[in-house]
């Protein structure tokens, strides 16, 4: 009996994909359950994939596969000469999704945009605390409460944001998931029915896919939005099959139970590449791992010493040992997928002999130092302890004694900020909005000394460039400034740049039109399945 059943099951499993293909159902084996469906409330990529990139749109969108922005719900925009006023002209005729739980009676207008932002920062907005402990973490984390002076409706299809100071990354910020545009009409209906909580459970937006149902920890179902302003999707249904274990996701992909999966185990990637039914795409993630010297403490206040130590580190060995190749050695503080990446820069060559000589010339003898190793694995550094040990042995070869230290994670983050910190710190960063400002100014600007700037490095020339870039609106001009800033960075060497980890995405051969996002998103607008 059991045997009979299992054969029946086998037959069925085999037919799942073929029947799915005829109905054009795209199955994504997602790595976890979304925390909710209101992207403003959360910070995790899992939640953004399930809510922001399916159901919603933003004023601007990231061009698929890049960190550049393009018009989204805003058809065009104007920036005032003083750089403080952003006036967005909304795209006409954008329809909200019609679902079983709500039928919209009007198109997108300025009220929706104002509602989507005001609920996040006006404490007197009835939606500000519609769920207990709503933290609006990204809105606050990106500094919006201190940045936005007002949001006004100019007319039904025009919205004006007035900022308190110049902020060029503002356009990239409004393309981030937390800035998703919701339907005010839907929200009003929920409020009138006393079901405000439903905004976080049954989302409704203007995006390519309309929400159908969520079974907790199991499945999320969407159907293509037939009224989508950017054209109806080629697939009919989109399903997220929640599968937390990476090895199981791989088995499901192999068996054809899903078409695409995120975050494979590094050990499985070779076999995936060899499988004729699968294809694998990979690119550098939007991240950097670094070793930050304390540039205010002798002898690390000397450029020659920092340079010499950088030349002593065998980055390739770290990438091989810690990532089994799923990373690339970094030469710049921003990843290669980011606009303004300066590829002309030459990395400090790995050369222990030259390094030793430079240290001698700088008058450094019998140096002993601490290297801090993070206690946790992050995407940009899977095993900091191992990396620290490799750096320890590299430095020993040039006559520098290293003691590896570590603290509990929260303590580590806190202590490593101290201006009088002893030793060099291994740490990293994953970008938020694809804007170079989010790396160069956030991590290396003078404002960040004693905070995110773990090198305690305040270089006037560098800081002038990144501040100027932050307040310049023209992207080409900004790119030039950031390219120069990277040159200054390389010359001054406040960090040893260690690696950018790769993001690897395996999928079935028949998947077409998937753009791997440098921002780490999994968005399925435009995907198709070959017959």
């Amino acid at each position: 009996m059991i045997r009979k059943l299992t054969f029946a099951a086998a037959l069925m499993a085999a037919t799942v994909l073929s029947s799915a293909a005829s109905a054009k159902t795209f199955v994504y084996c997602s790595e976890g359950s979304p925390e909710g469906f209101d992207p403003g409330l959360y910070t995790s990529g899992t939640t953004f994939d399930a809510a922001a990139h399916t159901v919603y749109n933003r004023l601007l969108e990231f061009k698929p596969g890049t960190t550049e922005t393009e018009p989204g719900l805003a058809e065009s925009w104007e920036i005032s000469d003083d750089g403080l006023q952003y006036t967005f002209k909304l795209r006409p005729g954008v329809k909200f999704q019609t679902t079983e739980f709500f039928t919209p009676t009007r198109d997108l207008n300025a009220d929706d945009v104002i509602f989507s932002f005001e609920r996040q920062f006006k404490a007197d907005n009835p939606w500000h605390q519609y769920v207990a402990g709503a933290a609006w973490e990204y809105f606050n984390g990106m500094g919006f409460p201190d940045l936005i002076s007002s949001i006004e409706k100019v007319d039904d299809m025009t919205v004006k944001f007035t900022l308190k100071e110049k902020e060029a990354p503002f356009l990239a910020n409004v393309a981030m998931p937390f800035a998703s545009i919701m339907s005010k009409e839907y929200a009003d209906k929920l409020a009138a029915d006393g079901k405000m909580n439903q905004l976080n459970q049954m989302p409704l937006g203007t995006g390519p896919f309309a929400f159908v149902a969520y079974q907790q920890d199991a499945v999320i179902r969407y159907k293509a939005n037939p009224d989508y302003w950017n054209g109806k999707q080629k697939i009919d249904d989109l399903v997220f099959a929640i599968t937390t274990d990476a090895a199981v996701r791989y088995q499901k992909l192999k068996a054809g139970e899903c078409h695409l999966m995120p975050f494979p185990n590094a050990a499985d990637v070779e076999a995936m590449k060899a499988d004729p039914n699968l294809k694998v795409v990979e690119q550098e993630g939007l991240n950097i791992a670094y070793l930050a010297y304390n540039t205010t403490q002798a002898p690390f206040d000397k450029v020659e010493v920092r340079k010499a130590l950088n030349m002593a580190i065998n980055k390739q060995a770290i990438v091989d040992a810690v990532f089994q190749g799923a990373a690339t050695p970094a030469k710049n503080p921003i990843p290669p997928t980011m606009w303004s990446y300066n590829d002309a820069i030459q990395d400090d060559k790995y050369d222990p002999e030259a390094s030793k000589k430079m240290l001698e010339e700088a008058g450094v003898k019998d140096l002993s130092m601490k290297v801090w190793a993070m206690p946790v694995a992050r995407p940009y550094m899977l095993n900091a302890r191992r990396a620290a040990e490799l750096i320890q042995s590299d430095f020993e070869k040039v006559g520098v004694k290293v003691e590896v230290v570590s603290y509990e994670w929260a303590e580590y983050l806190e202590r490593s900020k101290a201006k009088d910190r002893d030793g060099a710190v291994i740490l990293g960063w994953t970008g938020d909005n694809g804007d170079p400002d989010n790396f160069l100014h956030t991590l290396l600007g003078c404002d960040a000394v004693g905070g995110n700037n773990r090198a305690q490095w305040c270089n006037e020339e560098f800081n002038k460039l990144v501040v100027q870039a932050k307040t310049t609106s023209d992207q080409a001009e900004r790119a030039k400034l950031y390219e120069q800033a990277q040159e200054v960075f390389k010359r001054e060497a406040p960090w040893a740049t260690l690696d950018h980890s790769l993001s690897v995405v395996p999928m079935r051969k028949e998947v077409e039109g998937f753009h791997q996002s440098p921002l780490g998103d999994f968005a399925f607008e435009g995907v198709d399945l070959a017959e």
């Binding site: 069925m12 799942v16 709503a134 920890d217 599968t243 274990d245 088995q251 139970e257």
Partner: protein
């Protein structure tokens, strides 16, 4: 009998309070701050941290928080998740049927295979048959569940392609849950093939989850049988000329069942613990996975509410086992 029942119930109250204290305090002993985790890697300013802690009530004295939680529980309010912002009781009732379905199937499989295996091993004591069964049971008992589950997936789903890899039912079937039990809902849905699909998805997780209870029940049955088979009344029964089937099936087995029933009752706790791993491997949307996720997210209300609900169920099951025990063996009631 009534006195026995009341006595058992009286013990439940301090146990329940004890569990609530443990659930409340243990999660707070773990390093990691739920409010800081809400902001992910972004650094939250101390003012915002204080504000959110206040909104969630984490800035009040521990004892006030505990009494609030206990008061809520007694009035049926288990609180709200700080992550998903939805009611804990609602989530529990959505997820619990999945765990029950899997656990019931697993325990049935364990009993159906474990008891006969134990009986035969006892009858054939010392033979190759006995040694094989007990050896297998020992292996089953020591098997790391995670590894075992993955191994079965790779063999049956990956290589042989006999069973689906994970989930509760094929994604092509979509119907709203009625009872939450997929086997029942798939029949109610009237969609052809849905029930078969639900069964095929249940097979591997059931085997994995039943492995340890199966081994325990087989070993317990064997040793209980061996003890009983040496008793005077069994010898008497044999001397009376009763058939071996009657001697073993009626005289011996009924008495041997007493410790076995207790063991089965205790397996409920084991099943729920095993469900945590089994559910994670097979993407089975039950309470085990829910608890693990909540621990990682330091979702205090879910952990303390969920643990209490799970402990409550284990206590009730054990109470029922105790009562059954009393029925089988009248001496216990005194």
């Amino acid at each position: 009998m009534l006195r026995f029942l009341l006595g058992r119930l009286a013990v439940l109250i301090p146990t329940f309070i004890g569990v609530s204290i443990i659930a409340f305090s243990f999660i707070r002993l773990l390093p990691g701050d739920p409010v800081a985790l809400l902001s992910g890697e972004r650094v939250m300013s101390p003012e915002r941290h204080a504000q959110i802690s206040h909104e969630l009530g984490f800035d009040r004295p521990m004892i006030t928080q505990y009494l609030d939680y206990l008061g809520g529980v007694l009035s049926g309010d288990f609180g709200t998740s700080i992550v998903t912002k939805s009611s804990i009781l609602d989530q529990f009732f959505v997820l619990f049927p999945a765990t029950v379905e899997l656990s019931v199937c697993a325990i049935i499989l364990a009993i159906v295979l474990g008891i006969p295996a134990g009986i035969f091993a006892a009858i054939k004591r010392g033979t190759l048959f006995d040694q094989t069964i007990m050896g297998t049971a020992l292996v089953g008992y020591s098997m790391p569940i995670f590894w075992w589950g993955l191994l079965l997936i790779i063999l049956f789903s990956g290589i042989l392609q006999w069973t689906p890899v994970s989930g509760r039912i094929s994604l092509m079937y979509f119907f709203p849950p009625v009872t939450g039990f997929m086997l029942i809902d798939s029949l109610l849905s009237g969609q052809s093939g849905a029930f078969k699909s639900a069964v095929s998805h249940l097979l591997l997780p059931t085997i994995v989850l039943s492995t340890i209870p199966l081994a325990v029940i087989a070993r317990q049955t064997r040793s209980a049988m061996l003890e009983v088979l040496g008793e005077d009344y069994v010898r008497t029964a044999r001397a009376k000329g009763l058939s071996p089937f009657r001697v073993i099936g009626v005289h011996a087995l009924r008495n041997a069942m007493i410790p076995v029933v207790t063991t089965i009752g205790l397996q409920v706790g084991v099943l729920l613990a095993g469900a945590i791993l089994t559910e994670t491997i097979f993407s089975w949307p039950g309470i085990g996975k829910w608890m693990v996720d909540s621990v990682f997210r330091r979702d205090y209300p879910v952990i303390q509410g969920g643990l209490l609900l799970i402990a409550g169920i284990i206590m009730v099951v054990n109470l029922i086992v105790d009562l059954l025990y009393g029925l089988i063996n009248p001496r216990i009631r005194r």
